[in-house]
Amino acid sequence: MQFAVIQFPASNCDQDAIYAIRLLGHNADFVWHKDNSLNGADVVIIPGGFSYGDYLRTGAIARFSPIMQTVREFAENGGIVIGICNGFQILCEAGLLPGALIRNRSLQFRCEHVFLKTSTFNSPFTCKIPQDKLLKIPVAHGEGCYYASPETIQELQTNDQILFQYCDKDGNLTEQSSPNGSLLNIAGICNKNRNICGMMPHPERACELILNSEDGNLIFQSIIHTLSKTAEKTEIKS
């Protein structure tokens, strides 16, 4: 499987994303934001960081980089895209995901491990997560409070687009367990077609036990599993 990790000026979780994917035995390479090609990648990762210094708004300038047009076309053709932290902010600014990420309610930059409840297993990003498993994955952001209009929130719920919600260690969705004040404790969502995911927590920073958790791998393994199934089907057909 080939992963493309997009590099913007001031991306800073790009190396970690490459490391996490290679650890799982798959290929991952950087793609510079001024390029127009994904070099045949099967999956796109838009990594965390502070693209363009977070000037104007987080993700607002990165969405106009040339590669984002290619990513948009890739996604429109059903390609799997995952935006992590700043990547989530970029996908929202680009209109590829609904809503926006605003300043944390506490006004503090929060950097800590959080617990996540998987709200739906019906997605390429969550299908391999065990049903009762709470994920322990770190967040590191100042602007991760998910906001959308009541109509959009309703639509996310109706279409089963909420993937992850912040919870306490027992799986309760409490106000205290959310690091940022997101509506409905939302930590990650997908689009209506279920091939684009945005999430504030960093699965690539939870990819081996020395980092205190391997739970992030479950998200990447879900993607790999989904794509292997698709590849098998294509082979059978041909």
């Binding site: 708004r57 106009f64 926006a100 605003i102 309610r105 906001y147 209009s149």
Partner: protein, 79 residues
């Protein structure tokens, strides 16, 4: 010509900065502060003197780029 753009958070959107500053104003002793909203001010210096065209283009820029309509409102003035 100069364009002046004021961007403010939509009323329905939580504005933690505004809330914190409101609390601080009250703490310092200013009374009767009903709400504080913190936004951005952008000044753009423009060539030429065709105000109509400039306004049209900047309206688009405000909507597409300078503000995020999901969370912000904007006011544009050209002088």
């Amino acid at each position: 010509m100069k364009a002046k753009i004021i961007i403010t958070p939509k009323k329905a959107v939580l504005d933690p900065q505004g809330k914190t500053v409101q609390g601080a104003l009250e703490h310092i002793g200013y009374k009767g502060v009903r709400a504080v909203h913190i936004g951005k001010y952008i000044e753009i210096e423009l060539d030429g003197d065709d105000r109509e065209t400039a306004k049209k283009q900047l309206e688009e820029a405000c909507y597409m780029f300078l503000s995020n309509p999901v969370i912000e409102d904007y006011k544009l003035e050209i002088e």
